[in-house]
């Protein structure tokens, strides 16, 4: 009896400790390279940490605690940085993510539906070629499109020249896609003027984004029972009516998580924006993440950058809580 309880006590103890043993390596490493830096970041966000303090860190004699000054400076746009306004960047950042998703998802669904048409020739070839943008790394996409939008030698202006030549205009087109500051549609987004560079980025990111949505939509389309369409066409519903009343509602549970994923991806799309416009011209296409990067790399205001990162964290948390709610809501919808 006593031996048995001794064994079971030992296994009991082992069972309680075991999960923590399995977690130990990850938490040890993350403690050093993730949690400690995050806390350190929070501390230095209240200091005026600059290049002079690099060598000694927090023990540097010149380091001063400045309270909420960094946060205050960022939010009230009193940072001595040209063309910086936090709320304009925030507004642009949200608009950028929303407008991307609003274009990619419908385009993906429409093209998936198009390729789902019965009797269409060459479906497989189209499907195989349409997913090519998904496999090209975004940094390559961004650099290639940056060259395509080059004012003098870029393919976009050359393509437009070819088209206008056909239409009877002889002059070559020289649109300053990435450098023109005057917004082409004034007052389109109040508070954050959208320059041509924004539209150029939208074109490039559209190329990159819709094929993924189309892949997701095709998967969902397959799960819609064909009987529904047959019943609808017997009842005399037109193709458009079938699309709106059968396809769209049944695609919703699959497309909303994909849209949420696309939103968070576009919201923090650092490499693409940095490689394509670098936030320019005049910070008109700056995202929160690219500005944070400028603070560290070019301005070297580590204290301000830390405060900015904490603000990004809070914004991301709010975005996450909202999108999580949306996904949850659609999950219960699809299960019901």
């Amino acid at each position: 009896m006593s031996v048995e309880t001794g064994i079971s006590r030992a296994t009991q103890l082992q069972r309680t400790i075991l999960p923590y043993l399995y977690l130990l390596p990850a938490f040890l490493i993350m403690g050093v390279i993730t949690f400690y830096p995050l806390i350190y970041q929070f501390i230095i966000s209240f200091t005026n940490f600059e290049t002079k303090d690099l060598l000694l860190g927090l023990s540097s004699p010149k380091l001063e605690f400045v309270g909420f000054k960094n946060y205050f400076d960022i939010l009230t746009a009193t940072l001595p940085v040209e063309n910086f306004n936090f709320f304009r960047v925030l507004e642009f950042n949200f608009w950028w993510a929303v407008s991307n998703v609003a274009l990619h998802v419908p385009a993906g669904v429409l093209i998936a539906t198009l390729l789902n048409t019965e009797g269409l020739w060459g479906k497989r070839i189209y499907r195989a070629l349409y997913i090519l943008p998904v496999v090209v790394p975004p940094i390559v996409v961004a650099t290639v499109w940056r060259n395509i939008f080059d004012e003098q030698y870029g393919a976009m202006n050359q393509l437009l020249t070819v088209i206008t030549n056909i239409l009877g205009h002889a002059d070559p087109i020289h649109i300053r896609w990435l450098n023109e500051y005057t917004p082409p549609i004034p007052g389109f987004l109040p508070g954050a003027p959208l320059t041509l560079a924004y539209y150029a980025m939208m074109i490039a990111n559209f190329w990159l984004g819709w094929p993924f949505m189309s892949v997701v939509a095709t998967g969902a389309l397959q799960s819609i029972p064909k009987d529904l369409y047959e019943a609808a066409s017997i009842d005399g519903a037109t193709g458009t009516q079938q699309f709106w009343n059968i396809t769209v509602p049944l695609l919703r549970p699959a497309m909303i998580p994909a849209a949420v994923y696309g939103f968070t991806l576009s919201f923090n799309l650092f490499s693409f924006v940095f490689f394509m416009t670098g936030g320019g011209p005049a910070r008109s296409t700056e995202l929160l993440v690219t500005f944070a990067y400028n603070l560290v790399r070019n301005l070297r205001w580590f204290g301000v950058a830390a405060a900015f990162a904490v603000i990004i964290f809070i914004v991301s948390l709010i975005v996450f809580l909202i999108t999580n709610r949306i996904t949850r809501a659609t999950q219960s919808y699809s299960e019901a």
Binding site: L114, E118, V136, P137, V140, V144, A155, G219, Q222
Partner: protein, 338 residues
Amino acid sequence: MISNSMASNNKNPIVRFLNMNTSRQTSGRSLPLWKQLLLQVVCILILCSVMFPILYIVTLSLSSKTTRPSSLELFPKEISFIAYKQVLDHPTGNPVSFIELLRNSITLSVGVGLVALFIAVTAAYAFSRFKFRIRETLMLLVFIPLLMPAVGLSTPLYLLLNNFRIMDCGKHITAIVPFFTCAGGAKGQLLFNLRDSLLGVGIAITASALPFAVWNLKGYLDTIPKELEEAAAIDGADANQTFWQIVLPLAAPQLAVTFFLGFIGHWQEFVISWLFLSQPKDYTLAMTLYNMTGQYANSIPWNRFAAMAVIVALPVAVVYIALQKQIVGGLTTGGVKG
């Protein structure tokens, strides 16, 4: 057994996308010709927009012209590999060879992928299989860093890694700062700065890669049926044996997927390496590609830039196409169940 059956059912969207069973086709109703032609025109227009940048860059890379393109060319008039040869021989203005750049990129992406995998797998197992008191809290702790973009974490890592240096104090004495400093506050000569090295960059990338790896693996482990482990437990296997001999082999496909997803991401990593590294010998291919565009790259012929873009894109495209089934499937299992 299980991995076989998972491989055979086409659960993943891309495979379904390509081989979709369009059962209505068998009903015999065919598209009216005018509609067929109209839809073909639409499909071909979409195809043109998809192929436009790809054809443009491939054509450019196969050109021998070192001047910038004065008119639009989408199909190569000549096939010349001189741009590729030049990029391979002499990728940048700095004395750094293509092999070194490639080695740096591979070291970072493969190294970080493997390290993150090894550290993450046990944690994912613990979260997936054990019920313990502070499980929810610890899970939240692991996933919170996912909300911080890599750019956000780069500031403190830059500062902390920058503190770790190896100094040569002269007289054959080496000091490892911050643990030892040169005697008498002598400045000494900097031999190694962890921040300005591939190792430091690797550590920093691992910091943002770990939470994703744990999340992705946990999502998959949750889908492995518990019955196998229960059977093993009845046969007298303890938790460790179950993990090493049953769960790990079953999770092998997902381990590979997580590794390759990491590889695709780290291959393109730019934020941290561009911020941390200052010596050309440490540069990666992504950094070199960035150097070849924009206002600072006026001297670089576009055919060389195009060749570089194709070279950087190639490994990712190959991995993606070879493993698209597993990658998209892995993303959705990890994502949906996470």
